[in-house]
Symmetry: C2
Amino acid sequence: MQLSKTFDYAIRSLVYLARLPEGEAAELRAISLSQSVPMSYLAKVMRHLVRGGLVTSILGRDGGYSLRKKPRDITLLQVYEIMEGELRFVECMENDRNCSLFNGCTQATVWRRLRQAVEGIFRETTLEDLLPKNAGESVPTPIKESGYARAGA
Amino acid sequence: MQLSKTFDYAIRSLVYLARLPEGEAAELRAISLSQSVPMSYLAKVMRHLVRGGLVTSILGRDGGYSLRKKPRDITLLQVYEIMEGELRFVECMENDRNCSLFNGCTQATVWRRLRQAVEGIFRETTLEDLLPKNAGESVPTPIKESGYARAGA
DNA sequence: CAATCGTGGATATCTAATGTCCACAATTGC
DNA sequence: GCAATTGTGGACATTAGATATCCACGATTG
């Protein structure tokens, strides 16, 4: 019942990008530092987001990442599906192939209800909802940068 | 976002017990067979349920397990907490110690809403809800018993 | 006392998440 | 063109947790 760090990283990175001034891009290093996420791992996360169409990447010098949509047009459900695939609580959720037990699987109803609930929340929550309220704040910095985002890629 | 097999095993075993005639107990082997769960692993699951107070165990010959409460008095939330501990979606859910980022963690709200939703469903769903509707049915048997519950403990 | 159960805990295996690395392609400034 | 910078791609390593196995033991019954 845990959400993966990867998913959390993705959201935090997106929020970071959403807080940038219009049209500006952020480097991997900056995001990594601000979120205390290993740079090489974050790189992988960002690639997902790029392929998923939520983020644009700019190559070469002065490159970086920037949002491709308005914060309010990015839902957590989109992010989840890009990072983790379809929302599912048990192996057998859709395909009865896996489950050789034919107790009519009375659990299925519960799992389905669970998914609907979670999916609903994810669908209704956009990046905008995750932006800090106090407007005139600048991008946050990490408390201690214990070894993240050093030399490397 | 996956539920553990262990949790699923626990529920299925409880449902199995709930379907027994009043006051009857079931052996580990029988449960294991019916659910296609390795016996030695199921033993561990059952111990949790015993310690958690949902199930009584009878030692010695003709021993086995039986429910300690009525099916409608056992909620999925109880089962979950016994098997997995407190419901939680991210590490930092309660204690801010883990999280050295002070972006005010706007996600926290979402995680909390998520938990409330799931917790609600778990709290409202009892074992009774998981019993097959068609009354006069006997305890199910597995389709194929491919190697489970053989010799061993 | 012998057969049958569950108990307890150490240990092993497996799998997915997480993290690391390096060669490469794109872009920009000189 | 060249060097520096930035993201890309994929192979690989590590870790952690879930899952599974084992065995010596205690309880119970006939």
